[in-house]
C-alpha cells in the first residue's frame, strides 16, 4: 500500500486570502471537496434545525403565540427541503468523496472537475431557496412535497423553489455519475466487486437510485412550472389533468429518495460495527444482496405515500404487499449487524455508540414503517403525527446517527487528531436521549388523532407536544457540542492519530497516514 511523497505544489502555504479562497473554489481534490460538502452540510444542519426550533416553539402550547399560520407552513416546508437536500444528502456525498477513492485504492474521483461543479451548485441553489424567506409572501409553504394545486398558490417564491430543486437535483445526478464511474473503473487491481467495503457498495447502489429518481423529480417540478406559467394543465382537472398524477410522479422519486438517504448510513454502520467488534461483517454477500433488493423494491412501493387519494383496490393491495416485503431484506441487515457483534470483542467509543443507537432506534422506525404499510390501519396513521414520528426515527437516529458515526470514525483520518472522546460521548448521550424525548411521544399524538402540518392543536394533544418540544430544544442545543468537537480537531487540539487509528479497523484508508495526505494512492496498491 503505497503513499506518495508530499506534493510540493499543493502543500506550500498560500499567500493571502484571495489565494486561499481561490484554492477552495477551484479545488478538484476529492478530500477538499469532501470537506466542503461536510462543512456545508453542518451549516445547513443548523439552518434547518433553527426552523425546527421555530416549529417546536409554536407547538409547545395550544394557541398561537409566536408565528402566523402561513409562516409556520413556510417553516415546515423549508425545514424539510433544507434538511433533505441541503443537509443529509450533501453530508453523505461528502463521506463518499473523502472515503470512496481511498477505500478502493484510487488517487481521486474519475471526474474531478465535475466533482467541483457538483459541490458549488449547492451553496448557490440553497441561497436561492433561502432568499425566498425575504420575498413578499415569504418562502414556499406547501410542504416539501409541493403538491398542486396548493403549491400553485405559492406566489413569488414558487419559481425560485423550482429552480433551486432543479439545481440541487443536477448536483446529485452529476455526483452519482461520478461515483459510479469511479467505482466501476478505478478500483485497485485485486479489488473485485465482492471484495469492496460495504460503504462503497451502498454508495454504488445509491448512485444508481439517484439516476433513476432525480430526473423524475425534475420532470414533475417542470410540469408544475409549466402549469403555473405556460398554460399547461397536467395537474388540473378542468384542463383534463389530475392532481394525483403529480403525487405519483413525486413519490416515484420520493420513495427511492428516502433509500438514497439511508443506504450510505447503512454502509457506514457496516464499517463501524465490525471495527469495534473486532470481527468481520457477518454475511457480507447477503448484505450486498439485501441492499440491492431494498433498492429494487424501493422503486415499486411509491404509492404507499398515497393510500388515501382514492386509489383502486388492486393498486392499494399491490403497494401494500411490496411495501411489506421490504421488511425482509431490512431485517436481514439488522440481524447481520447483530450477528457481527455476537461473540465479538466490543468496545464502545463514540462511533460505536452511534452505531448501536442506530441499531436500536432505526429499528423502531422500521417497525412503525411496517405498521404504516397495512392499508386499513394507514387510513388512521396517514397525514398524522404517527407518520412524522416514523420518518423522524428513520431519518434522525437513522441517517443522522449514521453520519455522526462516520464523522467520529473518520475524523482522526481526516484531521490527524483524535477527537475528544469525553465530548463525543457527551454529545452522544444528550443527542440519543433528547431524540427519543422529541420523537417518541409523536407516535402517541398521531394515534390520538393529531394531524400533521398544523401550527395549533386541540387541548388533548397538549402534554405530549410539550414533552416533544422540550426534547427538541435539548436536541438542538446538544449539537453545539459536535461543532466544538469538530473545531478542536480542525485546530489540531488533540492526541495525534496513527494511520491505523482503531485497533479493529480494516481497509485501505487505514494504511495511509493520519491526516491523509492530499494525494493518496497515486500508485495503486495491490489487494489480495
Amino acid at each position: 500500500m503505497s503513499t506518495t511523497a508530499v506534493d510540493v505544489h499543493h502543500e506550500h502555504r498560500e499567500r493571502g486570502f484571495l489565494a486561499w479562497a481561490l484554492r477552495w473554489i477551484t479545488t478538484t481534490n476529492h478530500k477538499e471537496i469532501g470537506t466542503l460538502y461536510l462543512i456545508f452540510a453542518l451549516l445547513m444542519f443548523f439552518v434547518g434545525g433553527a426552523m425546527a426550533m421555530v416549529i417546536r416553539l409554536e407547538l409547545f402550547q395550544p394557541g398561537l403565540q409566536f408565528v402566523e399560520p402561513h409562516f409556520f407552513n413556510q417553516m415546515t416546508t423549508m425545514h424539510a427541503l433544507i434538511m433533505v437536500f441541503g443537509m443529509i444528502m450533501p453530508a453523505f456525498v461528502g463521506f463518499a468523496n473523502w472515503m470512496i477513492p481511498m477505500m478502493i485504492g484510487a488517487p481521486d474521483m474519475a471526474l474531478p472537475r465535475l466533482n467541483n461543479y457538483s459541490f458549488w451548485l449547492l451553496p448557490f441553489a440553497t441561497s436561492l431557496l433561502l432568499l425566498t424567506l425575504f420575498l413578499p409572501g415569504g418562502a414556499p409553504a406547501a410542504g416539501w412535497t409541493m403538491y398542486p394545486p396548493l403549491v400553485l398558490q405559492g406566489g413569488d417564491s414558487f419559481p425560485f423553489m423550482i429552480f433551486a430543486v432543479h439545481l440541487l437535483g443536477v448536483s446529485s445526478i452529476l455526483g452519482a455519475i461520478n461515483i459510479i464511474v469511479t467505482i466501476m473503473n478505478m478500483r485497485a487491481p485485486g479489488m473485485a466487486l465482492l471484495k469492496m467495503p460495504m460503504f462503497v457498495w451502498t454508495w454504488l447502489i445509491t448512485a444508481y437510485l439517484l439516476i433513476v429518481a432525480l430526473p423524475v423529480l425534475a420532470g414533475g417540478v417542470t410540469m408544475l412550472l409549466t402549469d403555473q406559467f405556460f398554460g399547461t394543465s397536467f395537474f388540473e382537472a378542468a384542463g383534463g389533468g389530475d392532481p394525483v398524477m403529480y403525487q405519483h410522479i413525486f413519490w416515484f422519486f420520493g420513495h427511492p429518495e428516502v433509500y438514497i438517504i439511508i443506504l450510505p448510513a447503512f454502509g457506514i454502520i457496516s464499517q463501524v460495527i465490525p471495527t469495534f467488534s473486532r470481527k468481520p461483517l457477518f454475511g457480507y454477500a447477503s448484505m450486498v444482496y439485501a441492499t440491492a433488493a431494498i433498492a429494487f423494491l424501493s422503486m415499486i412501493v411509491w404509492a404507499h405515500h398515497m393510500f388515501t387519494v382514492g386509489m383502486p383496490l388492486g393498486g392499494q393491495l399491490f403497494f401494500m404487499l411490496t411495501t411489506m416485503i421490504i421488511a425482509v431484506p431490512t431485517g436481514v441487515k439488522i440481524f447481520n449487524w447483530t450477528a457481527t457483534m455476537w461473540r465479538g470483542s466490543l468496545s464502545f467509543e463514540t462511533p460505536m455508540l452511534y452505531a448501536l443507537a442506530f441499531l436500536f432506534l432505526f429499528t423502531i422506525g422500521g417497525f412503525s414503517g411496517l405498521m404504516l404499510a397495512i392499508v386499513p390501519a394507514d387510513f388512521q396513521y396517514h397525514d398524522s403525527y404517527f407518520v412524522v414520528a416514523h420518518f423522524h426515527y428513520v431519518l434522525v437516529p437513522g441517517a443522522v446517527f449514521g453520519a455522526f458515526a462516520g464523522a467520529y470514525y473518520w475524523l482522526p483520518k481526516w484531521t490527524g487528531v483524535m477527537y475528544d472522546e469525553k465530548l463525543g460521548k457527551l454529545h452522544f448521550w444528550l443527542t440519543a436521549i433528547f431524540v427519543n424525548v422529541t420523537f417518541f411521544p409523536q407516535h402517541f399524538l398521531g394515534l390520538a388523532g393529531m394531524p400533521r402540518r398544523i401550527p395549533d392543536y386541540a387541548a388533548q394533544f397538549t402534554d405530549f407536544n410539550m414533552i416533544s418540544s422540550i426534547g427538541a430544544f435539548g436536541l438542538g442545543l446538544a449539537q453545539l457540542i459536535f461543532v466544538w468537537v469538530v473545531v478542536k480537531c480542525a485546530l489540531g487540539r488533540g492526541e495525534k492519530a496513527t494511520a491505523q487509528v482503531w485497533e479493529g479497523a480494516e481497509g485501505l484508508e487505514w494504511t495511509v497516514p493520519s491526516p491523509a495526505p492530499l494525494h493518496t494512492f497515486d500508485k495503486p496498491p495491490h489487494v489480495e
Binding site: P69, V244, G344, P376, A377, I454
Partner: protein, 271 residues
C-alpha cells in the same frame, strides 16, 4: 434474576393495559376503537401489528443487549472469526416472510370490506373548501357549510389573549355539524373546490382525500350515537388546522326531525 423477571412482566402488563385502555383524553397513547363496523377491524389490525412488532423487538433487542453485555472487550471477550451461518440466514429470512403473509391476509380482507360501498342507505356529498367543509345531502335537498365555530376562531388568532383551554372542544367544534342516523350505512362522496383536502374522523377510521375535479367514495356505519370529531388531513394552506369535521350520530327519529328543520330553514334562506 427472578425479581428482575417479575418486574419486567409487571411493566409489560401495565404498559399493555395502558395501551389497550379506551381513550384517556390527555395523555392518550393509542388509536380509538371507534364506533363503526369497520373502525373496530382497523383497531384490531393495528393492535395485531403493534403486538407483533413488540414481540419481535423484544427478541431482537434482547440479542443486542446480550451481545453488548457478554461480548465486551473490557470483560475479556475474545473475538470469534465466523463470517457466515447459512442456516441462520435462511431461517431469519423465511420466518419474517411467513409472518408477513400472515399479516397480509387479514389486512387485505379488511381493505376489501372497507372499499365496498354497496348497499348504502344515505349519500352525502362532502366538498372541501379553503377553509371549511360543505355538505350536501343529495337525496334530501339539504346542504350547508360547516366552519370552525366562533369561540375557537377567536381564540386561535395569533396572540389573541384567550386561553384555549377555556374554549370547549377547541379547534374541534363547528357551527353546522353533519348529522347522520345510527346503524345506517352512510356513503360519502368526497371532492374539493380548490386545493387538496382530506376528510378524517378517527372514531370512524375514515380518511379520504378531497381532490378537486374528482370524486372519492368512502362509507361508514356508526353503531353508537354521539358526537365524533375530526380534522382536515391534507395541507391546504394557511388555515389547514382550522377546518374541523364534526359528526352527530343520532337516532332515526332525531335524524328525520333534523332533516325537516334544515329543509324548512333552506326554504326561508336564499340558498
Amino acid at each position: 434474576m427472578k425479581t428482575g423477571f417479575r418486574a419486567w412482566a409487571g411493566i409489560l402488563l401495565v404498559t399493555g393495559l395502558a395501551v389497550t385502555a379506551p381513550a384517556l383524553g390527555d395523555w392518550q397513547l393509542n388509536m380509538p376503537r371507534g364506533v363503526t363496523t369497520t373502525s373496530r377491524e382497523v383497531y384490531d389490525l393495528h393492535m395485531m401489528v403493534l403486538w407483533l412488532c413488540t414481540i419481535i423487538a423484544i427478541g431482537v433487542y434482547a440479542a443486542m443487549v446480550i451481545a453488548i453485555v457478554r461480548f465486551r472487550k473490557s470483560a475479556g471477550a475474545k473475538p470469534a472469526k465466523f463470517t457466515h451461518n447459512t442456516r441462520a440466514e435462511v431461517i431469519w429470512t423465511t420466518i419474517p416472510a411467513l409472518i408477513l403473509v400472515g399479516l397480509a391476509i387479514p389486512s387485505a380482507e379488511t381493505l376489501i370490506l372497507m372499499e365496498d360501498a354497496r348497499g348504502s342507505e344515505l349519500t352525502i356529498k362532502v366538498t372541501g373548501y379553503q377553509w371549511r367543509w360543505h355538505y350536501d345531502y343529495i337525496d334530501d335537498g339539504v346542504r350547508f357549510f360547516s366552519s370552525l365555530d366562533q369561540a375557537s376562531n377567536a381564540a386561535r388568532r395569533l396572540r389573541s389573549g384567550i386561553d384555549p383551554t377555556t374554549v370547549d372542544n377547541y379547534l374541534l367544534e363547528v357551527d353546522n355539524p353533519v348529522v347522520v342516523p345510527v346503524d345506517t350505512k352512510v356513503r360519502l362522496l368526497i371532492t374539493a373546490a380548490d386545493v387538496l383536502h382530506a376528510w378524517w374522523v378517527p372514531e370512524f377510521a375514515i380518511k379520504k382525500d378531497a381532490v378537486p375535479g374528482y370524486v372519492n367514495e368512502a362509507w361508514f356505519e356508526a353503531t353508537e350515537t354521539g358526537t365524533y370529531r375530526g380534522q382536515c388531513a391534507e395541507l391546504c394552506g394557511r388555515d389547514h388546522a382550522f377546518m374541523p369535521v364534526v359528526v352527530n350520530v343520532v337516532t332515526q327519529e332525531e335524524y328525520e326531525a333534523w332533516l325537516e328543520e334544515r329543509r324548512a330553514e333552506m326554504v326561508t334562506q336564499a340558498f
